[in-house]
């Protein structure tokens, strides 16, 4: 953990020819989308669009996009991804008792979903709420995204707020008896899905929010999470990507006094992905844990997975924890950019960050940029980043018991990922994710 592995990669970037061209690229990008009009979100969408016009799309020379080429997100449309409707689905969490909302290419499909009724929550969809007019989410939609644009610009999040066709809006007042589960399905080959969820937990409320299923050729997701005092959200996302999937997501969260956010994501395959988490530890004693387990195989072309995290401690005794683990092979690239910002006065902050890569061959690489910026004088913050291969001694131990080599490697990969999975509190969910990982590893050994 003492070793900080930062490997810089020579980037071949095209010449940037000044601002006018960037505006054109953005215009092209916007022209390819249909921006929703009217409804409760209209003012927020208009603001997001003007934010975006000021920012423009990121260029490859943008420092925040140093390790991940933004061009696949900049182009007007994705490369089509043929969809086999007969392919078995078997998404995670499907066997559980959940309130399930099915989204097809980012749009709510009422006919395949459960009735939107569950004690302790108000739940509707963005498109539906927009059609109906006034809504409680009016003060929140786009607001956390807007706040999260400082100090680092996140143009694709603003693009999402402006353009999201649908999403789920959840207000929790109690402790619902079961999780809310958004299950994604695909339909069109060249789907460019843009969805935006808003989740508000009132004082002392609790929710488990799951996302799974398959997403299309390209996706841009935003989740805005607002946790009132003492609220607790478990957020688990385990979407299945298929090459050549291009995906981008942002989680914006505001955590009030004594509230708890636990967010875990599982990523298996895909082509070019970036997930950002922007967390504002606004209240005293706030807790936020973000974790990810990533399995990347570059064998089918390319694998690039970027986790970018920005946690701001603005109050006392906040506890934040980042645990990111990536298993990479066949020329896969993993990226981690994680920052903990402790503002003046955020005394007794406890910030922890670990990012680790297990490289299964020499062709794969991990690029890590851990950052701490601290303006308070009584805090505990640590970060570590390691890149390593399979532990030969442990491998020998397992094999000496008769466990065949490929099976032993599966064990050691699961072992490597265990710390990230520990962040899933619910044992049943954790076991299900672990089982899925094991299946995947066994079939791809």
């Amino acid at each position: 953990m003492s070793e900080i592995a930062v490997k810089t990669k020579a980037q071949q970037t095209p010449q940037v020819t000044g601002a006018p061209k960037a505006v054109t690229a953005l215009d092209d990008r916007l022209a390819a989308m249909s921006l929703p009009q009217g409804g409760f979100s209209a003012p927020a969408r208009a603001e997001a669009l003007s934010r975006l016009r000021v920012m423009g799309l990121p260029g490859p020379r943008d420092e925040y996009w140093r390790y991940t080429d933004p061009r696949l997100f900049n182009v007007p449309g994705p490369q089509p991804l043929p969809f086999d409707a007969k392919a078995p689905e078997s998404p995670l969490f499907a066997q559980r008792d959940t309130l399930t909302l099915v989204f097809v290419d980012g749009a709510f499909d009422a006919s395949s979903s459960d009735e939107l009724a569950l004690e302790g929550i108000e739940i509707t969809t963005l498109a539906h709420a927009d059609a109906a007019g006034d809504h409680w989410a009016a003060g929140l939609y786009g607001a956390l995204e807007a706040a999260g644009q400082q100090p680092v610009k996140r143009p694709f999040a603003a693009l999402n707020s402006a353009a999201a066709a649908d999403g789920v809006l959840i207000r929790v007042t109690g402790t619902p008896s079961k999780p809310v589960h958004v299950l994604h399905r695909r339909a069109a080959d060249a789907a460019d899905a843009v969805w935006h969820h808003v989740i508000r937990l009132e004082e002392g409320a609790e929710l488990t929010f799951l996302e799974s299923g398959m997403v299309g050729a390209r996706s841009n997701a935003v989740i805005e999470v607002d946790l009132a005092q003492g609220a607790k959200l478990h957020h688990i996302t385990a979407k299945r990507a298929i090459d050549p999937k291009v995906g981008l997501s942002h989680l914006f969260a505001r955590v009030a006094e004594g509230a708890v956010l636990k967010s875990f994501s599982l990523a298996v395959n895909g082509t070019h992905m970036r997930h950002e988490a922007v967390i504002d530890m606004a209240g005293d004693d706030a807790v936020a844990h973000v974790a990810a387990a990533v399995l990347g195989d570059g064998a089918t072309g390319r694998f690039h997975h970027d986790d970018t995290v920005f946690i701001t401690h603005g109050a006392e005794r906040g506890e934040s924890r980042q645990v990111f683990k990536k298993v990479l092979k066949n020329g896969a690239t993993g990226v981690f950019q994680g920052k903990i910002l402790v503002k003046q006065g955020a005394q007794k902050t406890d910030g922890y960050q670990i990012s680790q890569a297990l490289l299964l061959d020499e062709a794969s690489q991990f690029l890590a940029k851990p950052e701490l910026e601290i303006y308070a004088d009584d805090v505990k913050c640590s970060h570590g980043s390691t890149t390593g291969a399979i532990d030969e001694h442990a491998l020998f131990y397992l094999r000496s018991r008769g466990v065949p080599m490929d099976r032993a490697i599966v064990f050691l990969v699961l072992s490597f990922l265990a710390d990230a999975l520990e962040e899933v509190e619910d044992e049943g969910l954790r076991a299900e994710i672990n089982e899925r990982l094991e299946e995947w590893l066994t079939s791809h050994a």
Partner: protein, 251 residues
Amino acid sequence: MLKINDLHVKLEEEDKQILKGLTLEVPAGEVHAIMGPNGSGKSTLSYVLSGRDGYEVTGGDATLDGASLLEMEPEDRAAAGLFLAFQYPVEIPGVGNMTFLRTAVNAQRKARGEAELSSGDFLKIVRAKAAELQISPEMLKRPVNVGFSGGEKKRNEILQMAMLEPRMCILDETDSGLDVDAMRLVSDGVNALRSPDRSFLVITHYQRLLNHIQPDVVHIMSNGRIIKSGGPELALQVEENGYGDLLAEAG
């Protein structure tokens, strides 16, 4: 059962010869002990026999029931009946002890063409054997060796041995780090496994372990060779006088 003939081994990455013509035979049903000063090559011998990377065999051979071990992968040696109880058992977070044990048992059964144990049968057997070694059901559920005390790790090694039922067991300083009670438990576990068709090679620094696990033959190893073999009294002699006399005698 185990025959080692004129074995020469060097480190792969350094020009350093560790075993320099070691010859040893452990017949079926016997317990042999190897004692020797630090650096004599005892642990290397155990690793080379079980197939750890990093060593190069430059001469000689080692066979188990007539089959040459040195060309086999570690898992194949295990399936052939070889077991090494590690001096420092490895911790594997995130992998349950039971899952690991069951995978190992069934992989070996499969390699030998036997039917795999059902989870019910496996559970019954492992619970009974764990109880004999005072390994709690809670310990079985924990990740492999994680949070285990030194004694618990060694008992877990013996549990693995009991479950895998190897023909040839090598114990590499199994007594290190054990208190008196733990040593008795581990020894009882080993003694319970003694049988006419199972052999043991016990590597130790101290005669004390041999009070509990009584050897048929004691070998003294120094500088990569067996320099003297004898009965249990040889271990007592070492305990009494150290290795000095024996080394001088061997020249």
